[in-house]
C-alpha cells in the first residue's frame, strides 16, 4: 500500500475512473462526492493526499479545504478545475494547496504530484499548467 488518497468530485464517473487508475498504482483510494462528505472523511481518518475539484454544488473545493485545515492543519490538497475561476485559484494557492491542475490534465503529471505529496516534498509549489 503506497498511501491513502481521497478523491473529491461531484462528477461520479470521474471519481470512478480516477479511482481505478490510482488503485492500479497501488494506492488506497477513498472518494467523496462533495465538500461536506469529504470533511467528514478527513475528520475520521488521515490521508496522504487529497485531490479535490474546485467547482462543486454546495460547498466549493476551496471552502472545503479551509474547513479541513481547521481539523488537520497539515492536510495536503491538490485542486483541479475545468473552469477559469482565477480568484478562487489564487485564493487556494495563497492558502497553501500543493497544486492547482486544469482539467483535463495528464495523468502522469497527477501521479507525479501525488507521489511528491505522499513523500512530503513540501517545497513543491506549482501553478497552473499554462
Amino acid at each position: 500500500m503506497k498511501g491513502r488518497i481521497l478523491l473529491v468530485d461531484d462528477n461520479l464517473e470521474y471519481l470512478d475512473s480516477t479511482k481505478d487508475v490510482l488503485e492500479d498504482e497501488g494506492y488506497d483510494v477513498w472518494t467523496a462526492a462533495g465538500g461536506e462528505e469529504a470533511i467528514k472523511k478527513v475528520k475520521s481518518r488521515s490521508f496522504d493526499a487529497i485531490l479535490m475539484d474546485i467547482k462543486m454544488p454546495g460547498m466549493n473545493g476551496v471552502e472545503a479545504f479551509l474547513e479541513m485545515k481547521k481539523h488537520a492543519p497539515d492536510v495536503r490538497v491538490i485542486m483541479c478545475t475545468a473552469y477559469g475561476v482565477e480568484s478562487l485559484i489564487r485564493r487556494a494557492l495563497d492558502e497553501g494547496v500543493l497544486a492547482v491542475l486544469n482539467k483535463p490534465f495528464e495523468m502522469d503529471e497527477l501521479l507525479q504530484i501525488i507521489e511528491d505529496a505522499r513523500l512530503g516534498d513540501e517545497t513543491m509549489e506549482r501553478g497552473s499548467m499554462g
Binding site: 470521474y14 473552469y83 486544469n102 482539467k103 483535463p104
Partner: protein
C-alpha cells in the same frame, strides 16, 4: 354670522370649478375647436376691468363723492369709439410681432430696445402693486364683514390676510401658469376670467335687485327716502364735493387710457385676442356690461346711508346690506362675486407682469451673468417666483398703505401709472418720428413724477416715510414738495399728478423724438406700426388701372418661343399652364404688370427644362416686350418704389444686403451639412464597433460555458484511457495505437478549447511595465525547437520599458513561434533532399513607438491571398486548427495598443512584425506595476 370656513370653502370650490372649466377649454383648444375663439367670451373677459374696486369701491365713491364714480366707467365707454382704429391696430401688430405683453409691445415699436422694455416692466410692476393691494384689502375686509359676529379671535379671523394671499397665489399659478403655453394666448385662463366676469355681474345685480326692490320699493322710493333724510338732517347733505370739471376730465382721461393700457387690460384685449372681428362685438357688449354693473351703485349707496351706516364704511355696503337683512346666502353670493372680481384682476395682472419680469428683466440680466444661464431652462419656475413676488409686494403695500386709504383712492394710483404708457403707445402708432430716446425720456419722467407725487405721499400718510418731506420738500426746497410741484397749489393730489406727469411725459417724448435720429431699422418699424391698418401695397393695385395689351398676340409669341424647345402640343399646354398660374387664363387684354408676371412664369417653366440661364436668354431674344412696353414697365416699377417709399439706392442696398445674407446662410448651411456628415460617419463607425463588441461578448460567454463544460468529460476520458493504457497497453500493438490516439485527440480538443477561450476572453489579467528583452528571453527558453532548426536571437542593446500583459503576450509568441516551426518543417518536408536549412530568427529593435519584435522564418511562406486573410478569425490552411492563432495575436496586440504586420513570399518565408507601444494601452492601466520578470 357665517362660520369663517364657509366663505373660505365656497371660494375654494368655486375656484376648483373654474379650474375644471379651464381644463376643458384647454383640451378643446388642443383639439382645434377653442371655445375662447368667440366674440362673446372676448367681450366679457374685457370686464376684468371691473375689479373689487368697481364691485365694492363704486358704492364707496358714490357715498362720499356722488357721481364722481361715473367717469371711471364713462371713460372706457367713450373710448370704445376709438377701438376700431386703436385696438385693432394694436391687435394686428401683436399678431404680426407675437407680442406677449405691454412692455413687449412698446419695445417692439421702439427699436426692439431692451431698455424700453425694462423701463415699461418696472412701471407695470410698481404701478400694479397698489391695484393688487386694493383687491387683497377688499377680500380681507369683506371677509370680516361676512363673519363679523363670530369669535373675533378665531384662528381664521386672525390669519385671513395670509390665507387670502396664499389662496390667490395658488389660484394664479394653477389656473394661469401651470405650464408654458406655446403661444402668447392662455385660452383656459381667459375662459375662467370670462366666467368670473359673469358671476360678479350676476352677484352684483342680485344684491342691487334685493336692496332696491325687497328692502325698498324701487328706485323712486329710495330717492324719496334719501331726500327726506337729508331734509330731516339725519344724514349729512348728499355729496359735499360739487361737480368739478377738472376732476371729471382727469378721471375721464385716466379711465380712457386705463381700459387699454393697464397691463392686464392690454393683455386681455390685445394679447389674448383671437380675431380682430371680435372687437366689433366688444364695442357694444362691453359698454352694456358697464351700464349693467353701474345701475344699482347709487341705490345701494343711498340705501346704506339711509340705513344709517357711516359714509366711510360705504365700501362694504354691497355686502353689509343683505347681511343686515339676514340674507346669508345672498351675502355669500355677493362675497363670491367680489372674490371673482379680485381673483380675476390678480391673476391676469400678476401673470402679465411676471411674464414681463422674466422676459425683460431676468433674461437680459442672465445675458450678463453666464453662470445663471441654467435659469433659462427654468422659465416656468422663474415665472412662479415672479408671481409670488408680485403678489407679496401687493400684500406688503396693502399692509403699509391700505389702512389709510379707501379702495377707490388706491385704485387711481394704478390708473395714473398706466397713463404713463399712453404717450409712447399712441405716439408709436400714430406718429412716425417717435423714437426710442423719446420713449425712454417720456416714460421715465412720467413714471418718476407719478412715483414722487403720488406714491411717496401715500407712503408718508401711512407713516412709512417722514412727513417733513410733504411739508417742506426735499432738502427744504419747497418748490419740490411732492404734492405741490413747482409751487402749484391744488387740493386734489390726483389732478396734480396727472397734469405734471402728462406734461413731462408728452413733452420729453416729443423733445427726445425730435432731437434724436431714428436708426434705419427703427424707421421701418415706425412705418409699419403707424401703417398697420393699411394693406400692404401689391403689384396688383396698379394692374387695375389699364389692361390694354392684347393677350392673344403675346400668347402667340410665347408659343413660338416654347416651340423652339417643345413639340407644338407641349408648347401650347405649357403656355396654358403659365396663363393659369398667373390667373390670366380667361382674359383677353392684360396690363403691363400682368404681362411681366406672365413673362417670369414662362421663364420659370422653361428653366425647368433648359436651365435658368438659357431660359433667360431665350426669353430675352423672343422679344415678348416691345421697347415701348419695356419703358412702361420701368415706369410702373418706379411708381411702386415711390409707393413703398424706397429710393432706388435703398432698394439696391437692401438687395445687396439680402443677397449677402443668403450667401452667408448658404455657406453656414453647407458647413453644417459637412459637420453632420462627419458626425454621422463617426457615429456609424462607433456603432459598428459596438455591434462587433456586443457580438463578441455574447459569443464569448457562450464559448466560455461550452468550453469549460467540455473539459470535464475530457478529464474523464483521459482518466479512463490512462487506466486502459496501463492495463492493456503492452498486450497488443493496435490497442496501444488506439489508446494513444484517444489520448492525442483529447489533447487536441483541449488546445482547441484553449484557443477559443483565448480569443473570446476579455481583458482581465494584469498589465506590467518592464523590459521586453528579458521577458522574451524567458519565453524562448521554454519553447521546444527541433534541434536541426537554426534559431537566431538578436536583442536590441537597450529598449524602453513597455506595457504588456505577460500571460497573453506569451500566448502571442507561442503562436507565432509555433507557426514558424510548422512553416519550416513543412518546407523541409516538401524540399526533401535539396539543400535547405530551416532557420528562425527573433529580433527586437527600437521603434519610434516603442519596441519592434520580428519573428522571421524561411519556411513555406504564403501566397498573396493567404497573406491577406491570415489575420481573419477562422481562416486556416491547416487541416486541423481553429484558424484563431493569428486572430488571437492581432486581438491581443490591439488590446495592447500595438500592432502586428505580416510580410510573406511563397517558398521564401514569412516575417511577422509586432510593435509594442511605450504608452499604456488605456488610462486605467497607467497604474501598472513594475514587471518582475
Amino acid at each position: 354670522m357665517l362660520n369663517p370656513w364657509i366663505p373660505l370653502l365656497s371660494l375654494i370650490l368655486y375656484m376648483a370649478f373654474l379650474f375644471l372649466t379651464a381644463l376643458w377649454v384647454e383640451r378643446r383648444s388642443a383639439a382645434g375647436r377653442s371655445p375662447v375663439n368667440n366674440a362673446l367670451v372676448y367681450s366679457v373677459s374685457l370686464a376684468v376691468y371691473c375689479t373689487a374696486w368697481t364691485y365694492y369701491g363704486s358704492v364707496g365713491r358714490a357715498a362720499t363723492s356722488g357721481l364722481l364714480f361715473l367717469p371711471i366707467y364713462l371713460g372706457p365707454t367713450v373710448c370704445v369709439i376709438a377701438w376700431w382704429t386703436v385696438l385693432r391696430k394694436l391687435v394686428r401688430l401683436k399678431t404680426r410681432h407675437h407680442i406677449t405683453s405691454i412692455a413687449d409691445f412698446i419695445s417692439a415699436r421702439y427699436n426692439k430696445s431692451e431698455r424700453v422694455a425694462a423701463l415699461a416692466t418696472v412701471i407695470a410692476l410698481v404701478g400694479t402693486m397698489p391695484y393688487i393691494a386694493l383687491q387683497l384689502k377688499a377680500v380681507i375686509s369683506t371677509f370680516g364683514v361676512l363673519t363679523q359676529q363670530e369669535e373675533t379671535r378665531s384662528w381664521m379671523a386672525l390669519h385671513v390676510g395670509p390665507v387670502t394671499v396664499a389662496l390667490m397665489l395658488s389660484f394664479t399659478i394653477i389656473l394661469g401658469i401651470r405650464r408654458l403655453d406655446p403661444t402668447e394666448r392662455h385660452p383656459g385662463l381667459i375662459m375662467a376670467v370670462a366666467v368670473e366676469c359673469l358671476v360678479k355681474l350676476l352677484a352684483f345685480l342680485a344684491a342691487g335687485v334685493f336692496v332696491t326692490y325687497f328692502m325698498f320699493d324701487g328706485f323712486a322710493d329710495i330717492f324719496e327716502k334719501m331726500a327726506e333724510s337729508i331734509a330731516s338732517s339725519t344724514i349729512s347733505p348728499w355729496p359735499t364735493e360739487q361737480f368739478s370739471p377738472i376732476s371729471w376730465t382727469t378721471y375721464l382721461i385716466m379711465a380712457m387710457s386705463a381700459i387699454m393700457f393697464l397691463p392686464r387690460q392690454f393683455h386681455v384685449s390685445v394679447v389674448e385676442n383671437f380675431d380682430e372681428k371680435h372687437i366689433r362685438t366688444a364695442m357694444w357688449l362691453f359698454p352694456l356690461y358697464m351700464i349693467l354693473i353701474n345701475i344699482f351703485v347709487l341705490p345701494i349707496a343711498m340705501a346704506g346711508l339711509i340705513k344709517g351706516y357711516p359714509a366711510l364704511e360705504a365700501d362694504t355696503f354691497v355686502l353689509a346690506l343683505p347681511m343686515s337683512a339676514g340674507q346669508e346666502w345672498l351675502s355669500l353670493l355677493v362675497f363670491l362675486g367680489g372674490g371673482s372680481a379680485a381673483t380675476g384682476m390678480i391673476m391676469i395682472s400678476s401673470i402679465t407682469v411676471s411674464t414681463m419680469i422674466t422676459n425683460h428683466l431676468m433674461l437680459p440680466v442672465l445675458g450678463w451673468i453666464p453662470s445663471l444661464g441654467f435659469l433659462r431652462r427654468q422659465l416656468l419656475k422663474c415665472r412662479w417666483v415672479a408671481v409670488v413676488g408680485v403678489i407679496l409686494i401687493g400684500y406688503w403695500f396693502e399692509r403699509t398703505v391700505g389702512e389709510s386709504y379707501m379702495l377707490v383712492n388706491i385704485g387711481v394710483i394704478s390708473f395714473a401709472a398706466a397713463l404713463q404708457f399712453a404717450p409712447a403707445i399712441l405716439g408709436g402708432i400714430f406718429w412716425r418720428r417717435g423714437n426710442e430716446t423719446g420713449a425712454l425720456l417720456g416714460m421715465g419722467a412720467g413714471f418718476f413724477i407719478w412715483f414722487y407725487t403720488l406714491l411717496v405721499p401715500a407712503f408718508v400718510r401711512s407713516g412709512w416715510l417722514s412727513d417733513t418731506l410733504l411739508r417742506e420738500g426735499p432738502f427744504g426746497i419747497t418748490l419740490l414738495r411732492p404734492e405741490h410741484f413747482f409751487g402749484v397749489l391744488t387740493t386734489d393730489a390726483l389732478n396734480h399728478t396727472v397734469c405734471w406727469s402728462l406734461f413731462f411725459n408728452v413733452g420729453l417724448y416729443v423733445f427726445g423724438s425730435l432731437c434724436f435720429k431714428q436708426s434705419e431699422e427703427e424707421r421701418s418699424l415706425a412705418e409699419e406700426f403707424v401703417g398697420a391698418l393699411q394693406t400692404t401695397p401689391t403689384l396688383h393695385r396698379s394692374t387695375e388701372k389699364e389692361s390694354s395689351i392684347d393677350l392673344a398676340a403675346k400668347k402667340n409669341v410665347i408659343e413660338k418661343l416654347l416651340g423652339q424647345y417643345f413639340s407644338e402640343k407641349k408648347a401650347a399646354s405649357v403656355t396654358q399652364r403659365s396663363l393659369e398660374a398667373v390667373g390670366l387664363a380667361n382674359k383677353t387684354r392684360i396690363s403691363i404688370v400682368e404681362l411681366a408676371e406672365l413673362r417670369s412664369q414662362v421663364e420659370k417653366q422653361l428653366a425647368g427644362s433648359i436651365g435658368s440661364a438659357a431660359a433667360h436668354r431665350a426669353q430675352v431674344s423672343a422679344e415678348l416686350f416691345t421697347p415701348a412696353e419695356e419703358r412702361e414697365l420701368s415706369e410702373v416699377y418706379g411708381e411702386i418704389l415711390v409707393g413703398l417709399r424706397v429710393t432706388p439706392e435703398e432698394l439696391k442696398r437692401k438687395i445687396d444686403y439680402y443677397q449677402e445674407r443668403e450667401m452667408l446662410l448658404t455657406r453656414h448651411a453647407s458647413e453644417l451639412e459637412d459637420k453632420v456628415r462627419e458626425r454621422t460617419h463617426d457615429l456609424e463607425v462607433a456603432q459598428g464597433e459596438l455591434i462587433k463588441r456586443e457580438k463578441l461578448s455574447v459569443l464569448g460567454q457562450l464559448t466560455a460555458i461550452v468550453s469549460h463544460e467540455l473539459r470535464n468529460p475530457l478529464g474523464v476520458i483521459r482518466s479512463s484511457a490512462f487506466f486502459l493504457t496501463r492495463r492493456l497497453g503492452d498486450s497488443d500493438a493496435k490497442i496501444a495505437k488506439h489508446l494513444n490516439r484517444i489520448e492525442e485527440q483529447v489533447g487536441i480538443c483541449d488546445s482547441i478549447i484553449g484557443e477559443l477561450l483565448e480569443y473570446t476572453r476579455g481583458k482581465r489579467s494584469e498589465v506590467l511595465k518592464g523590459d521586453i528583452n528579458a521577458w522574451l528571453k524567458g519565453v524562448m527558453e521554454q519553447m521546444t525547437v527541433p534541434r536541426h532548426v537554426k534559431l537566431i536571437c538578436e536583442a536590441a542593446k537597450s529598449s524602453p520599458d513597455v506595457y504588456f500583459d505577460g500571460e497573453r503576450l506569451r500566448r502571442v509568441f507561442i503562436n507565432l513561434f509555433d507557426n514558424a516551426v510548422q512553416a519550416v518543417l513543412a518546407r523541409e518536408a516538401s524540399e526533401a533532399g535539396r539543400d535547405y536549412k530551416p532557420r528562425i530568427r527573433i529580433a527586437t529593435q527600437l521603434d519610434p513607438f516603442g519596441v519592434r519584435i520580428e519573428v522571421e522564418d524561411n519556411g513555406t511562406g504564403m501566397d498573396k491571398e493567404t497573406a491577406m486573410r491570415a489575420f481573419e478569425p477562422l481562416f486556416t490552411t491547416r487541416p486541423r486548427g481553429t484558424g484563431l492563432g493569428l486572430a488571437i495575436v492581432r486581438k491581443v496586440l490591439e488590446e495592447h495598443g500595438g500592432s502586428v504586420t505580416l510580410d510573406s513570399n511563397l517558398n521564401q518565408g514569412t516575417t511577422i512584425s509586432v510593435i509594442l507601444p511605450r504608452i499604456p494601452p488605456q488610462a486605467e492601466l497607467s497604474t501598472a506595476k513594475k514587471a518582475t520578470v
